[in-house]
Each structure stands twice: as C-alpha cells, then as structure tokens.
Symmetry: C2
Subunit: 388 residues, 2 copies
C-alpha cells in the first residue's frame, strides 16, 4: 500500500513540536514502507502554495536532530482558513495525492482540521496532533509542549524567589496564557518550602480586581518580607474583559486572523508596575514579562515532554486507518497514553484550569494543583535553604 | 594563628555568588586551621546589626550544597554606608574580632570596601571579591556571575530566533544592564548561522536614536523576514539620558541609596512596543523584559562560572596577608587566573563594553565581540537548521 501523508505545524511553536513531526514520519516509514511524508512549509499556507519538503527522504539521524530542535522547523502559520482558503488547501492536498493530513497545533489548528474535514467530502483522513504550551486542549490530561514551558517557568520562579529572599521586594512575572492559567500556576511546581513564592497566582479563570490584588500583595509582604506574583497575560476583570483590553487604547489594540486580541505582556507589565507604584509607594517592585522565553527555550527541553510529543506524532499515523480524529494524552493513573478522540470534542474549544487548582478564596496554589504540577514536573533541583 | 574572617554579599545576587562564600570559607579552613568564618546577614547591614552565621561550623557537604544554590544565601543589601554607617560597621567588625572583611559584590560593593579601608585606621584587611552579571568591573577579563547570566541570554535569543523563523515578526528582548552592554550583546554568542538573530544590539555605550532604530529594524526585516533585537535597559540618548529617564514622568522615577535611577524594563519595553506600533503599523511585534530571569537562573548555572566564583573566594582569603585589595579575573591567553589589584582601581568605577565589540557604524556584533563571547561561552547546543 503506497501512502502519502502531509504534515503541517500551526500556531505558536513549542520546544518539542518537531518531535511530533519526526514521530509521525518514522511511524509512517515503519508502518507503510515506501510511503511518502511531505512537510508543508508554514502550515496550511504551504499546502495552499504547494511548498513542501519530503521528510521521508531524510536519513533518520537528520530527522532525530530536527526532533531535538525547538520551534517549528517547517514553519508555522496563524491563518484561519475560510471557505475559499479551504478549497485551495483541499486542492493542494489532492495535488500531491494526500491520503492523510496531520496538522499539529492547538485549538485553532484542530478547528482548521474540523473545517477541512467538513469541506472534504471524504477520501482523505484529517488528523489533529496536539501541541500547546497553554495546556488548554479538551480531552487531554496535558499537552505536548506544556511540560518544557512549565519547566522554564517553575525554574524561573524558584530562582526569583531565592533572589528576593536576598533583596526583599515585590516581583511580578507576567506569563503567557490567554484563557488558561496552567502555565502561570506551574510557577509553583518547585517551591522550596511553605514560605516560597510565587505567593500569589492570578489567572484568566479568576476575575482580577485591583484593590484585592493590592490587599493580597500587602498581606504577603507583611508576612514574608517579600511577595512573588505569577500573573497570566490574559487576566480579566469580572466582566471578562482582559486587563490589557481595559488598559490599552482601542486604536492600539491588534487582533489576529482568529479574532484573538493581541495580549501585550509589556502593556500589562507596565500597568501593574504603575499600580504598585501608586498603591504601595516607595516599595521596591519589579515586573518582568516572560513572554516568548518559556515557549521554545532550548535550555529547558524536558525529556518526558519530548518523548510524549514524539509518541503523539507516531500515534496520529497509527490512527489514520480509524479515520478523522484528534490525538489526546490521557493519564491512566500510572502513565500517559495516547488515544484518538473526535475532532469535534477538541476543535475550537478551550480547557481551563480546574477551579480547585487554587484555594477557594485565595490566589494561592492548592494541594490539588500542586499535585498535578509535581506529577508532570518531578523536582529537578535541590537547592539549599538560604540563611535569610 | 587564630583568625576571624567576616564575609558579606552585596548588590544583586547571581547564580554563583554562594560559590565565592564557600570558596573563601574552605580556603580559610585549609590555610588557617581553627579559624572562624562569619557570614554577615544582608551584607554590611548584618555587620552593623551583629547578625552573623558561623560558616566555619558547617560541614563541607552542607557548604557545597549552599555553593551550588543560586542567589545570595546570606542575603544582600544595597545600603551605601556614609561616615556614621561606616563607624557602626567598623564597630561590628571589631566586636567580633575580625582580622579581615571580605565583601563580595560589584562596583558599589568595592566602593564600600574602599570607604571602610580609608576609615579603618589599619589593623584589619579589606578584600573585595568580584561578582556581577553586568561584567563591568575594571581590571577583570570577565566577572563571576556573568557567564551563567549570559548563558541564559544566549540560549533565549537562540530559541527566540528559531521561534521567529517559524512565525515571522519583530522581537525585542530587554536585558539588564545600566552602563555596560556585555549581557545584552552575549545574546549573539550562540547564533546558528549568518541569518540568525539577534540582528540588532542596542547597548548603553551607543546613543539610541528612534529614527535610526526604526530604519535598522525595517532594513533587517526586509532582508530576513524577521528582526530580533537585543536591547539594554540602560540605553540612552546622545545626551546620555537613559531612555527610561526620558520616557517616565519624573514623579515616578525612583533612585536607590547609591543614586542609581531605577531602570524599569517594563517601562522601556512598553515604550519600544508603542514606537514599533506607531512607526511600523500592522507588523507583528513583541517585546519581552528578561529582567531578573538571567541573573540567578537555576536552569543555566554554568560550570566554568561556578568554578571561577569559588576560586575568587579562595583567592581572596589567600591574599589577606598581602593587604587590602580586590580580586580580578585575568585571562592569560589560555586560562582565567585570579590576581589581586588595588581597591582604588575597581572601587566605584565601571568598565564598559569595548567599542569594537559592535561594528563601527552598525548595531551588530563584530568578530571581535563574537570571539570574546564564544570564548567565555562554548557552544552548548547543536540545533538543526529549520526548513524555513
């Protein structure tokens, strides 16, 4: 059986998205000898424009080196195909004789796959392979890309907390996350002891209120002599308007093709810094925007994450004969396993962080939340407790 | 000979400053059996207030674990002693019978040592052991703490460049650095090829001009399809006024006890983001403030840096009998060695990045600059070249 598989990458890159490309390519080679695996350049845009590389021609050693490289080696896209665009993609897929199209990405990318499936009229399999540092895909325990990004965030907050023991003050780290606070809350995975930061965690799932925020910071600072805060870019007020939306003049607000407001960590960071300067004058306060630093950081590529991303790609190929679907990562109580789920269960949907990951009335990590992050991120460092 | 040595840490912590404390403690134990090594809590403030831990009482295994922990385990301070404060420090040192006082820090800390030496009237040795991520101490090839911080910055820019190959746009990373651009320029240490970012480097040593900046970004973007920029917090205009100073209302400007203006990465980041939105409308642009993330990051503690920091502490103790001084790291053409220099050669002075580390008329790293950073930071990663 001669098979042609097209693979594309969509949305923001991660540290391990290339593992998924290579996992799929090697599984295709194993399962369908003589098959052709084409990598589309810059996602569906490459399919539309007929820009491909033949991944199945590459030697395994080269593929494995690509797998170990962060970011999307094929390039990515944020294009959201409308009906006309879909037609050109279908034409592109048929033009190369594709039997299956595997698109690796988050909820927007799974949405693209659902649109293509509905427009295709059959004869081709549409698979979605998961990838997102946001960890916000339905049906999954966690997502490839998340653990590596979380490792960067956890290590950063462990380090910053040690820094602020030495020179007390207030620190706010702004972490990517539009709707889901997983990545921000992962900052608490490697705390040293009960006194360790991040002491406060603000996520999109909980309404942000300025007075409450300042009260929280004052309480922690009074008690600990320092206050370390992890805050998502997507924090919003009780009406669901993102803080960035309420702070940035409308004429400067930008949206992408998916209608997503551009969340500027710098805008939010500066606003938070001003709030602290106004409401807690004279206190040493510092705000950093982590931004892109966790997302494909070569210094924190996590081995478990890399392996799971590879397996998700291999599983996508192994599932082609069962028809359209999305690959989900399930935790069976002992280990993480792949299973195929309906595209509709994932497409365009967002999983938010369970409410009980934070304490009921406090912006602190709960034991439930801590257990989740500690399971995904076994403690990597064993620093000494400082004298101060 | 019974000896009492007091050790303190001053200024911003680094990933390896505890190595220097432990290097000094173990050298004192070896050289002066039965000696007492006291660690002052929160720098000279702990000396003044009589708050010490007896480091020489700790088992070697515990000391080595402290050495491997980032940030200042004894706590730090930004106090700048005046005459009255100096008197209380001298009293504190005499109170514990100190024969020598080793203060670990940057130019401000070496300044404190010079003030104390001048006020002491003899009978005690004042040593300065080097530490700063800014790499801006006179007489040194580089400083303990710099290499680890630079490793974080180099890895981050390598990663961000891969990210922006996949999804083109403009990226600006704001890096700590008040007067010296070493840490910012170290972002170019691990570029993948000639096309790799950071494509543009803005440091305090070169006047920043908005029009020139936008022209540079446009040129690179046109040529490469992306533009990655490394920018120091301390960038200043031709009159020497820091960009933060020109952008932030005077009533919001804060200064520390040394008279240093508080440089807010968030303020600068937001200003740069606005400039890009105004002058290059519609272009995807993102600004992140690295801030504290490079300074004591547990994920990028560099082995060479750790060893050199340890040796600087040991050398400080070994030099006590030669009298007051500062420990400098010298590169002899093959390896880095410690030597003692006069406190006055270091105290309160700042070494800036040599002008030839950047191209003469361009904000790009030069071969000379690249050779320096590559010597300090041997390439750690070997990523594959992306298809895009």
């Amino acid at each position: 059986m001669s098979v042609t598989i097209v693979i594309a990458q969509g949305g923001g890159p991660t540290a391990v998205i290339n593992q998924t490309v290579v996992g799929a390519t090697l599984e295709a080679r194993r399962r369908y000898p003589g098959s052709r695996v084409l990598g589309a350049l810059h996602g569906v845009r490459g399919v539309r424009d007929g820009r491909f590389v033949t991944l199945s021609d590459l030697p395994e050693a080269e593929l494995m080196r690509i797998a170990a490289t962060p970011s999307a080696a094929l390039g990515s896209t944020r294009d959201k195909p409308d009906a006309a665009y879909c037609e050109t993609i279908m034409k592109g897929l048929k033009g190369v004789g594709a039997d299956a199209f595997i698109n690796i990405g988050g909820n927007d990318t799974s949405g693209t796959q659902a649109i293509l499936r509905d427009a295709s009229g059959g004869g081709m399999t549409f698979m979605h392979a998961p990838k997102t540092i946001d960890n916000d895909l339905m049906e999954s325990d966690h997502t490839p890309g998340f653990i590596s990004a979380a490792e960067m965030v956890a290590g950063a907050f462990l380090s910053v907390d040690l820094d602020f023991r030495a020179l007390p003050g207030i620190y706010v780290g702004i972490v990517m996350g539009r709707h889901a606070g997983f990545l921000t809350a992962s900052g608490a995975a490697w705390t040293l002891d009960e006194e360790s930061g991040p002491h406060l965690i603000y996520v999109p799932e909980r309404p942000f209120e300025r007075k409450r925020f300042i009260d929280d910071v004052k309480t922690v600072f009074h008690r600990r002599g320092r206050c370390i805060v992890a805050m998502s870019e997507g924090v919003a007020d009780a009406e669901g308007r993102s803080l960035v939306e309420t702070l940035v003049p409308p004429e400067l607000q930008e949206r992408d093709a998916h209608g997503n407001l551009k969340l500027s960590g710098s805008d939010l960071g500066q606003a938070i810094e001003r709030i602290l300067a106004e409401d807690m004058p004279g206190r040493r306060a510092r705000v950093d925007t982590f931004g892109y630093l966790p997302r494909g950081n070569i210094a924190t590529v996590n081995g478990t994450d890399a392996r799971e991303a590879f397996e998700a790609g291999a599983f996508a190929v192994a599932s082609i004969e069962q028809g359209d679907g999305s690959v989900a990562l399930e935790f069976d109580g002992e280990k993480t396993v792949c299973r195929a789920v309906d595209l509709n269960a994932v497409a365009g949907k967002t999983r938010v962080m369970p409410d009980d990951f934070l304490h009921l009335h406090e912006n602190r990590i709960s034991d439930t939340g801590r257990a989740y992050f500690e399971r995904l991120l076994p403690r990597r460092y064993d620093p000494a407790r400082p004298f101060v």
